[in-house]
Point group: none
Chain length 191, copies 4
DNA sequence: TATGAATGAGACTTCATTCAT
DNA sequence: TATGAATGAAGTCTCATTCAT
């Protein structure tokens, strides 16, 4: 029989990689990085431990890849037209997207919040994270400045904190958190 | 040397217990529960592993005791006069106390936020936590209701989220977080 | 393209086999048998793991083949005219060949010396090795006997030890070992 | 019951440490570093794997300690009166001691020769080894110089190689190697 | 012939906990 | 009360080998 084509191999790799990452994301988010063993991930993904290491060289590389991939997805809804300036319309869109993402990617957000309290994990992605957070804070700050707010920096920090606080509570208490009401309240307040 | 009295033993026990708890709190908060070994705690506390187990039956009991003790301290500044109703003055006091506590007990707060993302730890203190959070949410809700706010439940949840969001950001970025400015902003907004 | 003939296949096989053996010899010699993975060998040889197993059934078979092949090459310079007796001229030639081989096949010699300290590898080639060493010791012994030396067996053992000692030191310290001076010294002593 | 005294603990540690090192030396020497698992050592020493790690932080530290300890023992018989100069008497003594050590510490010598063919192990002790070998080569060189030999450096290297070659052959073929005869031959040649 | 995905055994190491003293 | 030696389970990772294509 002729060997698999390069493309076939690539497809296998892509599928498997995604399977592993999805499984691992869910477990990392729900049980924490340290409590999630490679064994558990492999079993839940229906593969052997050995194979997992064929795709990711270490547990650290696995979580790094997952987090980076999640962060990449995020950048999409910050400053949609990439001009570095938020209009009132874009701020509204930004807030709506944030709430949307919160609901759709709960696993990622759990992991994201989790990060800040696991120094040895945070360390792995810190650089990338700092850049991203800084970018998004500057954007908010610029918005408030151009909107004539008195202390735009503090105002931006405040909004950042509010959003994360909401995310945090939603994560901690998903079932009964009134996400929609809070969203509307926030939009009324800010946009 | 005369043998120690009962009371002296009692005092030693109390001191030791506190020393162990303080040491463990700091390590748990900074390095995470899983990354902190009993060995490290014992060494930093200047005692042997064996003796630590003389004071706490397990690592779980240790963190449980620490968290419960922290939560006990918190209840102090909610509704100071214990009448179940917050005046505007008391809300202001509450907010100020919150910010104060944030600065003074950073270790505890790190651990507290951490809790929500470590199910196997959260499980240990969940019941107690739910009661406490519920109490404090109800109080805020009552305040907003008596203040004539339209949707007091949502308003309370919002304030809760805002406070935790602030705490969260302060923990994540202690050095450059403008805690004072945010405090004043919040007091102006709510009280 | 016309399909390859039987003979062409044969040639490919032979070339490949040699490529694999050379690559493996170098890695085994430099990094040790256990530290050299089949993966590394295949990669360095520019083929896949699967194909390597097409040529050698196991890692053990691979090293066995390499060592046997090396030993085959050695027999060439012992007793060139195969009459089982060494003349003074032939001993001189033998010593010179030894030094020559040392320089030219460092990889093999490293592996060869290594052998004696890795029982699980030695076991694989022991029989063959014993025969060979015995042959060459007998030859030296006969030489010394016919040269009228008092205790020819001990003398042969001594020369064998000296040669291996030189090889050993040269391997351990290739850069600064005065191979030439030592060679001349030895020839003066023995031939 | 009163706790163990510090001295009791020290005795336990010393005994255990020696037991572990002896067991490990034997296994490392006979089976090679890579083929000897921590599990095997622990089992043969009659303890748990965990306890072994209480005494040595890693497999590397274990072999390093063993080799260094062996090298320490060696320095005793080089230049007995530590004046940096060998007399003819001392050279004779040195050679005799070498043969003695060869017989008495076969495990160590196997490990020692083994070293040079396991780069990743050699690396761990290289520095110390180079110093030691250099010291002992210089001593021999000085001896030959003061004895009026023409090329004392080469002569020293030659003797070094001869000794190692003898050790090497003795290790490879302990049962039938005529150690005594070789020793006398060597003493007659050099001292 | 040729590929590399997949397996499974086994390696090193850590750590909560127990226990003799 | 106090010590730290000792255990054993579990975790991360490697690698010879097999197999579908």
């Amino acid at each position: 029989m002729s060997p698999r084509t390069e493309q076939q191999f690539e497809e296998i790799r892509e599928t498997r990689t995604k399977e592993i990452m999805d499984t691992a994301l869910e477990l990392f988010a729900n049980d924490g990085y340290d409590m999630t063993s490679i064994s558990k991930i492999a079993t839940k993904a229906g593969i052997s431990k050995g194979l997992l290491y064929n795709y990711f060289n270490s547990k650290e590389e696995l979580i790094k890849t997952i987090i980076f991939s999640g962060l990449d997805n995020l950048t999409g809804f910050i400053d949609p037209n990439k001009d570095g300036v938020l209009t009132k319309e874009e701020l509204r869109f930004f807030i709506e997207e944030f709430f949307d993402a919160l609901e759709k990617n709960q696993h990622f957000w759990r992991l994201y919040f989790n990060l800040f309290f696991q120094p040895h994990v945070l360390k792995l992605v810190e650089k990338r994270l700092i850049v991203m957070i800084h970018t998004y804070m500057k954007m908010l700050e610029n918005y408030f400045r151009s909107a004539g707010v008195e202390d735009p920096e503090t105002e931006a920090i405040m909004l950042g904190a509010v959003l994360d606080g909401i995310g945090f509570h939603f994560m901690a208490n998903t079932a009964s958190f009134p996400l929609d009401k809070i969203k509307h309240k926030l939009i009324k307040m800010y946009a």
